[in-house]
């Protein structure tokens, strides 16, 4: 088990499988109505979304809100470094958001791994889902 303390921005207790994306623009690269990544069709619904770097349009906040509206919200968003566009979307949608994931940890984590985050923001990897 690997463990690290993240900084909770929108706090929450989270348990779920990881979807890992190197860099992401929510607008243009996420389909909120279907709850999937447009590029490869991976589902975000109920998953713990690990993002290496976010980019792109300021409409991104609405896309995050729309994921909740259509019932496709991820269980949480975990970032190396957050930014206001994602923060605003996560607050409006009530999606737990954490930042401060070490970059090497992001590199090592695999799609489909299990993530567990407690109320204080401690992330444990490698458990069972």
């Amino acid at each position: 088990m690997t463990s690290v303390r993240l900084r909770p921005i929108v706090p929450g207790k989270v348990h779920g499988r990881i979807v890992k994306v190197g860099s992401l623009s929510f607008y243009g690269e996420v389909d909120p109505e279907r709850g999937v990544l447009i590029g490869d069709g991976r589902s975000l619904s109920g998953r713990v979304l690990f993002i290496g770097r976010s980019r792109g349009s300021t409409v991104g906040s609405y896309v995050i809100y729309a994921l909740r509206y259509y019932g496709n919200a991820p269980a949480a968003i975990v970032m190396v470094e957050s930014e206001p566009i994602v923060i605003t979307g996560a607050i409006l949608a009530g999606i737990p958001l954490f930042e401060g994931l070490p970059r090497e940890m992001f590199s090592n984590v695999k799609d489909g791994d299990c993530a567990d985050i407690d109320n204080s923001g401690v992330l444990n990897l490698g458990g069972d889902c």
């Binding site: 623009s25 976010s54 980019r55 792109g56 300021t58 409409v59 906040s61 566009i85």
Partner: protein, 398 residues
């Protein structure tokens, strides 16, 4: 970690200006807390992105209706981005797909924004509109702008201070007349530490690819400074700004002689952007010889760019040329005869909308906008990038 609020700000948070303002203040304070801002800053203007039914859909329309219904009203002047069609000619130019349902959704969004007090300029380049002058903004003013291309232009060219605000955050900031004091609102954060030298001859396509390079390689939180072989034209800088916002999250660049700063920038080091890499990337992005259409005006074009287009386009275009622009710039160009001249050469205009925020048929496109390439290439079969001069050759050759 706590944000110091003034008495007035606390009153808003406690609901003394109504539920909508309290909710807006709550979001701004939470963002302030999470980025570590110590206070808020008054703003003089807001520009709101995310107003097309094509981008925010049903969820966004419902969100705005709820807010307007709660009594939300803007405390400062607020302009808004392009919508999903040309309001004066919804099926304009035959390239947009606009269903009844789409128009109904769009109307709901516009009604809610109007109720809150928005100026419906419907453009991503509000700074080109005649109406913009009445907001009386000057260098050093703090504003809250969504629309990443306008944010980068505001900081880089106009000397207005804004971070990249999410669409709804710019809206919340307009309601309370404040945003969090952070990032580019703080003068010291506007001074570059790293400069980049571009040796290639520049045009807007080169600058788009340069922006893509910076998005991937500039890891400093201060803006990059750019040394270019010549002073870029205004529309070239606009394309650079748009590409910075699309390919990454850089909200400002420093261009010597153009960017207003409170003191002279002294970068700690200067790096070369490898010319070979820029050339190779431009070759990758070359448009097909016969695209279905040529697209100019992402972000919305200026009067100046229209006159350059008019002088380059010596004969009638054989491939449709679509230009998107604000109603304000359109009306000015129309009154001076420029629109008629260009229409005579086969150019079609779409006002208050653009191809990115609307729905189009599956077509191949050549554009001089890296931003348009970035978003359109995700849903259209073929999108290429080339400067205005080359686009005009493609259009005339047919």
């Amino acid at each position: 970690m706590s944000v110091r609020l003034t008495k007035e700000e606390e009153d808003i948070l406690e609901g003394k200006r109504g539920e909508a303002a309290a909710r807006a203040m709550e979001v701004i304070v939470k963002v302030a807390e999470s980025v570590g801002a110590q206070r808020l800053v008054p703003i003089k203007h807001a520009h709101i992105s995310g107003v097309s039914y094509g981008t925010i859909g049903e969820a966004g329309a419902a969100f705005l209706e709820e807010l307007a219904g709660l009594g939300a009203r803007f405390a400062v002047p607020a302009t808004v981005n392009p919508i999903g069609y040309d309001p004066e000619e919804p099926q304009g130019a035959g390239v947009l797909r606009v269903s009844r349902e789409f128009m109904r959704g769009q109307q709901r969004i516009l009604r809610s924004l109007k109720r809150m007090g928005a100026d419906l300029l419907l453009t991503c380049t509000p700074y080109y509109a005649e109406e913009f002058r009445r907001y009386d903004l000057s260098v050093g003013d703090s504003v809250a702008w969504g629309e990443s291309s306008a944010v980068a232009y505001a900081n880089t060219v106009l000397g207005l201070k804004t971070n990249r605000e999410g669409g709804p955050l710019a809206l919340m900031a307009a309601i309370v007349g404040r945003t969090y004091y952070y990032g580019l609102h703080i003068p010291a954060n506007r001074l570059p530490r790293i400069a980049y030298r571009v040796q290639e001859g520049v045009d807007e396509a080169v600058l788009g690819v340069v922006a893509e390079y910076l998005a991937e390689n500039h890891n400093d939180d201060k803006p990059p400074m750019l040394f270019l072989p010549r002073t870029p034209k205004d529309y070239e800088i606009r394309e650079l700004a748009a590409a910075l916002g699309a390919a990454g999250s850089i909200a400002m660049a420093v261009l010597p002689g153009i960017t207003p700063l409170h003191k002279d920038p002294i970068p700690e080091r200067t790096l070369d952007i490898p010319a070979g890499r820029i050339r190779a990337r431009l070759r990758d992005l070359e448009p097909p010889d016969k695209p279905d259409l040529v697209f100019i005006g992402c972000p919305h074009t200026s009067f100046h760019e229209l006159s350059i287009l008019n002088s380059l386009l010596r004969e009638k275009a054989r491939i449709p040329v679509i230009v998107t622009l604000s109603r304000s710039v359109y009306n000015r160009a129309k009154s001076l005869g420029l629109i008629d001249m260009l229409e005579g050469k086969g150019v079609r205009f779409l006002r208050g909308t653009c191809l990115i925020v609307s729905r189009t048929a599956s077509i191949s496109v050549a554009t001089n906008s890296y931003k348009a390439y970035f978003y359109l290439s995700r849903r259209l079969p073929s999108v290429g990038l080339a400067p205005l001069r080359r686009l005009v050759e493609i259009a005339m050759a047919g």
